[in-house]
Symmetry: C2
Subunit: 551 residues, 2 copies
Amino acid sequence: MKEISPLQKKRLGYKPILPKILENISNLEIEEKEKTASLGDEKELKDLFPNTFGAPIVNFKKSCSEKEKKPLKVGVVFSGGQAPGGHNVISGLFDALKKLNSKSLLFGYLNGPSGVVDCKYLDLTKDLVDGFRNLGGFDLIGSGRTKIETDEQLDKSLNCAKDLKLDGIVIIGGDDSNTNAAILAEYFKKNKVSTKVIGVPKTIDGDLKSKEVEISFGFDTACKVYSELIGNIAKDALSAKKYYHFIKLMGRSASHIALECALKTHPNVVLIAEEVLQKKKTLKIVTNKIADVIEKRSKIGKNYGIVLIPEGLIEFIPEFKVLIAQLNKLLAKGEQTEIELNKLKSGDNKIEYIKNILSKESKTCFEHLPKSIQEQLLLDRDPHGNVKVSQIETEKLLIETVKKELKNRGFKAKFNALNHFFGYEGRSAMPSNFDANYCYSLGYTAALLINEGLTGYMSCISNLHEDPENWSPKGVPITSLMNLEIRHARKKPVIKKTLVEANSKAFKFLKENREKWAIQDLYTYPGSIQYFGDKEITDSIPISLKMNNIA
Amino acid sequence: MKEISPLQKKRLGYKPILPKILENISNLEIEEKEKTASLGDEKELKDLFPNTFGAPIVNFKKSCSEKEKKPLKVGVVFSGGQAPGGHNVISGLFDALKKLNSKSLLFGYLNGPSGVVDCKYLDLTKDLVDGFRNLGGFDLIGSGRTKIETDEQLDKSLNCAKDLKLDGIVIIGGDDSNTNAAILAEYFKKNKVSTKVIGVPKTIDGDLKSKEVEISFGFDTACKVYSELIGNIAKDALSAKKYYHFIKLMGRSASHIALECALKTHPNVVLIAEEVLQKKKTLKIVTNKIADVIEKRSKIGKNYGIVLIPEGLIEFIPEFKVLIAQLNKLLAKGEQTEIELNKLKSGDNKIEYIKNILSKESKTCFEHLPKSIQEQLLLDRDPHGNVKVSQIETEKLLIETVKKELKNRGFKAKFNALNHFFGYEGRSAMPSNFDANYCYSLGYTAALLINEGLTGYMSCISNLHEDPENWSPKGVPITSLMNLEIRHARKKPVIKKTLVEANSKAFKFLKENREKWAIQDLYTYPGSIQYFGDKEITDSIPISLKMNNIA
């Protein structure tokens, strides 16, 4: 028998709170609300999704009569990176299916979408599901990054669904995975296969968001874990008074995580990548901004502090954007320049070679980088030959550029900096009560959407700033979140990523306070996630969600 | 008004549990137990501490009569790195002093021992103390690393104590700081100054430990924070199934933290530096051991896992020990070789220069290191010219050597590794209930020892594996923990660091289980520190403490 920790044991027994409307699902019916279009490119998307485009948003309401529900067979899959709460989507789905009809069955596709294609699955029994309630990770069935795109993949997925006589497939994933869900839904419908496909909005990054999708699951817990650590480090900085901590935070292109963590901890500097892009801030400008804060603080005797850096920052700095695009092109698999580069043995020669084939602007940018970053740009590339942006040590880069800048300014005080990167620490954490409740409701709602025969929908909950009892489950057509974007030189239907908006209340609040936070030490210390005791502590929701949702 | 988090607010109101014996301190008296000697070098230590050596251990017992207690004036100081619970030593001290006599005063020396020397202090009022109860960090009064060693420093400290008419000074620190406390106590007594000096055992490293000192404070909380993160990462590794995470843990020379975290999370590999030293394991042997586990796991389809590395490891690998000692000598400030090295501009030239003046054995070791580590060994040096061992990225070094070894073995599967270092994340965390209670009792006891007129004592609590009500507060002469060691080529009195013992029950348990943990995925997930709810969760004590203390 595998040993589990006392907290795991206790959390296994936590009963997630359901919205009142879901308390009795035997007498629910759907209510069609407004018909939807798409975020853009309506005509093209209608052509791409002739069978599923333009469906209405649906709510649930009480019906007068109780209908007999037939047993359902559903498959569920995790797609992409871990996010806290995934197992609760499964337990919510499982419980709702069993409540609809105790003969319902739930299968878990193994190791991500490749399991859907290759028909590898696990029969999810009550015993199995009960062992993962309210726990972190995706380890009950694993996850993966395969995309179901080719005709062969679509066909194999379809045949598996047919063989298993599935009433529905639930795809738990981010923007790309939900796009995939829409494509699969359309493909099944076109081919007259009755399996419905429902998406569930997952990503710690918080960029899968819209009017209807208030937040993706996992964001709350991940931000709470990172903020616990940032707060601890701020407390340490304030006690030791000798280090600047440059902390990079996961979150890919969007800076939602950095913003939320800043609202929770009040660091001296937080960079918001979207603002860097919008205001065309060069590396020089970003560096100066940090150096300014360090100088000002030093004048009042403070040679310590906290700087938060979003993972995606580097892609939003104009000259890097250009440099990375050029490198991706020059070093794409099979390009002559890539072949030449790989012939060279020493790192120095590679750097020299590349320098001389870059554009003048990119050459200047490249030349001014520390050698370790130059090497990262050339060596650590993904299977497509693209620069692995997430592995560029932006936090170290900024320490170097700031150090140089301070030296140029004749800064006399001490500047000692330490770097941190928080990402994997939060992706598989035990979900907060918010994520535990939210995910359970998302899973529950997914089951109900399948039961209603809907497909190409995303399971959504709105009203999240209220108590869970008052949350509103709904179904939103995935195509309504889409537009066309150019990917690998081709126009593709995609769910539009939502970045940090300049006019959001949360970002405005940051802007109003950051000058003060820069100089005064107004750090707040959220501490570790609490599961028991005061609701104000255990059931808190993301600050940015609260700010943006309350009028 | 500074904003505080809901958890901070709630924790401010937590009432630490006192041992029953301390519930009413108006009728306590001390009971002298066995006289003490030292851990070694008795004669020399007796000569160095003629006025304080050989005192007895003292307990507290109920007395029949209540004595009127006179008001006390006490100064308190934090020395060295942060450890969770420091503020509770202060609040315990404050509350006990006020309980003894409401006219008692507590002063906080500012920014560490330099405050003691320069007589910089803060009057710690109830309002101030109340704002820091049960919170992390040392920020109420700051900390520092000054050592009070020279005659001038000792004199200035003495004059300040005389000016303030202090009855006592409480020094909250690690082994070196408690040695300092003993020296100060002896100096005061020799000079007929009545100020008593009491030490409090602080350090997350857990190496300040003896028969009487069961554990230093802060160790419990820091290990809980690190284990939360290790558990989260293990969960992520198990879900994504594609990364090995090499996690370095703070803790200087001793591997107590790595051992405790391993007992809490069951990683696939944990290196114990003391064992590496004892068995004379070279880097090659350590590398092979990790590579063996990776190969075995790969054969059963597992290309992911968790490797824990203690911060001090590198100093315990025989050839590194020699290399570092040589480098410290060659590059000591003012050495001809140091001057020559600094004349060289490029990193490559420096590396070349050093290589050729090292002994043959050290040259081989140095040559086989990745360049980044070579540079760290030469560039990042402390003010004395010593290699900053804590900043050597051992976790990256091992990833490199393991990668090479696997390649040599013709390993065909994937080996993707990520590195982490956890240290600052835990040093200033909000103390666990254990550390909150323990520190409060330590502070309380320190006040009582001063009230009894004892000096050169360490405030100690034993029986820590029982409920706090049954804990036994006591005073232990600091000299009884000492021996002589060679520091900077001179014999000095020091408190002996306690390393992980090969025969301790905790280490034996690890040895019995690690083969199993290596292959099976038996990770446990402690989750975040809980402060409310089940006592089994909120009031747990370190596993190693429990194992080693219970017969």
